[in-house]
């Protein structure tokens, strides 16, 4: 850190952050917990921040997330904007920084554990802010009817309060999207359709046995095309955003299963959506 924050008390500058060596982990246990990620109970609370337009609090295992939506409110751009400007900020607790690749906490110079622990972090678990932000931006700008709010800005904040070592980044990503989706629904801001996001493990049994089963994240809504037939209706899904992590598997396999895994993801996404929408509906 080259700049000192003189506005706040951040403690002595020569303080050494705490560094904890990793406990020898039992890899078997980790794997079983990964597979059960989608089966864990999700705790949702809406409107927990009364001053925000919409907000949601999510807990899944050790993962605690808070999403809040502010706006639409005046945007002080010089130029005329016929539609709302979207601003998304992702904050994670600085004390979790050991999983961070790029430090966004320039206001906190104490807690940089990066040097100590970054080296041995599995890329599957690394939190990549740029991925979070770009997928959120894509999803939200496709979802919100921005042209209903001229000259405004809509601010979305995601606070990662806690997470743990057994949650993969992609799973966290889907949680983040779910939190934002729900906060948007809660806010009453005009959106195209009810969104839901899911991480789907590749369904093909061959790859699931290997430790790095390919996973895909999608955030999607139902399109304006409907079909009575459930199977056919799966085609009428509009993807807001998706993310496929760099896989260690050979590529040919992935390509062939991509369509399948997306179909599978859509199916799961629909199931989640019906639950979430029921939840929201009951909240009315």
């Amino acid at each position: 850190m080259n700049t000192v924050d003189r506005r706040r008390r951040l403690g002595p500058s020569n303080a050494i952050p705490l560094s904890f060596p990793s406990v020898e982990s039992n890899s078997d246990i980790e794997n079983t917990s990964v597979s059960s990620f989608n089966e864990q109970k999700l705790f949702i609370q809406l409107s927990n921040i009364p001053t925000a337009t919409g907000s949601s609090f999510l807990q899944l295992g050790n993962n605690l997330l808070l999403a809040s939506v502010y706006g639409p409110r005046p945007s002080f751009k010089r130029t005329f904007n016929s539609k709302a400007v979207l601003k998304i900020t992702f904050h994670s607790s600085p004390f979790l920084s050991s999983r961070q690749t790029e430090s966004t906490f320039n206001n906190n110079n104490n807690n940089n554990n990066n040097n100590h622990l970054n080296s041995d972090i599995d890329p599957e678990y690394q939190i990549v802010n740029s991925v979070i932000l770009s997928t959120l931006e894509t999803a939200c700008s496709n979802l919100i009817l921005l042209d209903q709010y001229p000259k405004s800005s809509i601010d979305i904040f995601v606070n990662l309060i806690n997470t743990d070592k057994s949650t993969k980044f992609i799973e966290l990503l889907s949680l983040i999207h779910t939190a934002v989706n729900l906060a948007l629904i809660d806010s009453g801001i005009s959106v195209k359709n009810f969104p839901s996001s899911i991480v789907s493990s590749s369904s093909s049994s061959s790859s699931s046995s290997s430790s790095s089963s390919s996973q895909i994240f999608i955030n999607s809504i139902h399109s304006d095309i409907y079909d009575n037939d459930d199977e056919k209706d799966l085609q009428n899904e509009e993807l807001l955003t998706f993310y496929i992590p760099k896989s260690t598997n050979n590529n040919t396999n992935i390509k062939s299963t991509l369509k399948d895994s997306i179909d599978d993801a859509i199916k799961q996404s629909r199931a989640l959506r019906s639950e979430l929408s029921q939840f929201c509906y009951n909240k009315l």
């Binding site: 705490l18 904890f20 406990v23 925000a52 907000s55 999983r99 806690n162």
Partner: protein, 397 residues
């Protein structure tokens, strides 16, 4: 907007309550107070219920995931709390760093300023010697402190705001001067990790470790996130900080042998470089609880004072006689607890009291504000109320 045309009296535009609250919050407040209530529908001296709990997100909290591990390895949070009060929720997380003694105080110019401040006290019945020590001795050497960073979610990004900075400063001062944490409590008993003849890891302490001459202390950081602010936040922030501190567990620390060898190799000529090259590692499982001084645990109550001026200029829904009523021309001050909402937040006259519920106060702040003077009655009332409240709330920590 409706009109009233049956008389010749003057009338303003009639606003709906929510409109009036927006246009003229002070008038709304006066109206409520005249009716004996506050906009939040609480009574004047009614406190807001506050739910205090540990947030359970620290490293040592048993994992909800049941993944076979007893600790959450990802986080360096060593204490946490969560407080909900009305629509406002506060999450406080505590982490720590290590700093060499004798170094901290010298390096931080702000510390030197603080050391000159004399602690005021007017009570010598209890803990006489301790208080004398504070008076005579160096405050920094006696009392531990916490470095709080406050983040109030306002839906904006950018540098910390005045309120956040002010709150952080006030919390820091309060913890330091109240002596909540004994400085000794933060001292680190550094061990030396080594491998014995049989290849087992052992940790040497005290006299066994000749290498460690430097003394280390924990530096405690707090991060307080506030969501849904509706009024002054100090009470809540203080409560969450104290709660989190009482939940805090300090890890055991040892020096890596490899690093200590390296240190001796580089020799004494490069002492400055050596300081940075200490590789202090915390034990990932073992810890000790941070002990707070029980008698210094306080509850903070902030009061606002509203003047009810005699002129009943506000007392109308639009109609008013030109001849104003002359009765009750006395200024009246009313003490309000737990301010909430825009109008109450705008009150400039404040009294802030930290009481331990047993007749002791660690801090009393009176803000003069605008308007009539603050009477002794009001101050007395505030002190009494804060005592009652403290007695009520401190057991919940």
């Amino acid at each position: 907007m409706s009109q009233n045309i049956e008389n010749v009296q003057l009338k303003g535009v009639i606003f709906s309550p929510s409109e009036l609250a927006l246009v003229a919050p002070d008038i709304t407040l006066t109206k409520y107070i005249k009716a004996g209530y506050r906009p939040s529908l609480r009574r004047f001296n009614e406190f807001k219920p506050m739910i205090i709990s540990t947030a359970g997100i620290s490293r040592y909290d048993i994992s909800l995931l049941n993944d076979g591990k007893k600790i959450n390895e990802l986080t360096t949070v060593i204490g946490s709390s969560s407080i909900k009060c009305g629509g406002t929720s506060t999450i406080c997380t505590i982490s720590a760093g290590l700093v060499e003694d004798n170094f901290e105080a010298v390096n931080d110019y702000r510390m030197r300023l603080d050391a000159d401040i004399i602690v005021n006290n007017d009570d010598k019945n209890e803990e006489n010697e301790e208080i004398d020590n504070i008076l005579g001795g160096n405050l920094i050497n006696k009392n531990g402190c916490v470095y709080p960073v406050i983040e109030i979610a306002k839906g904006t990004t950018g540098p910390p705001g005045d309120e956040e900075i002010g709150l952080g400063e006030k919390l820091y001062e309060t913890i330091l001067h109240s002596g909540l944490i004994n400085r000794e409590e933060l001292k680190v008993d550094v061990g030396l990790k080594s491998i014995d003849e049989n290849g087992n890891e052992i940790i040497l302490r005290g006299d066994d470790v000749g290498v460690i001459k430097k003394k280390f202390s924990f530096v405690i950081y707090a991060r307080i996130q506030v969501f849904g602010k509706t009024g002054p936040l100090f009470d809540q922030c203080y409560a969450s900080l104290v709660k989190a501190l009482s939940d805090t567990k300090l890890p055991e620390v040892y020096l890596n042998e490899r690093e200590s060898n390296l240190r001796t190799k580089s020799g004494k000529r490069n002492a400055n470089i050596n300081i940075q090259s200490y590789d202090l590692v915390c034990d990932s499982v073992k810890y000790r609880k941070l002990k707070l001084r029980k008698d210094r645990i306080c509850w903070s109550s902030t009061f606002g004072i509203v003047d009810l001026s005699s002129l009943n200029k506000e007392d109308n829904e639009g109609d008013i006689d030109i001849i104003t009523e002359t009765e009750e021309d006395i200024e009246q001050s009313i003490l309000l607890t737990d301010l909430e909402g825009e109008a109450e937040n705008n009150l400039s006259k404040r009294i802030s009291v930290l009481s331990n519920g047993e007749g002791f106060f660690t801090s009393i702040t009176i803000e003069k504000g605008n308007g009539s003077r603050i009477t002794t009655d009001i101050i007395k009332q505030a002190l009494e109320l804060s005592q009652v409240r403290a007695k009520d709330m401190i057991p919940k920590f």
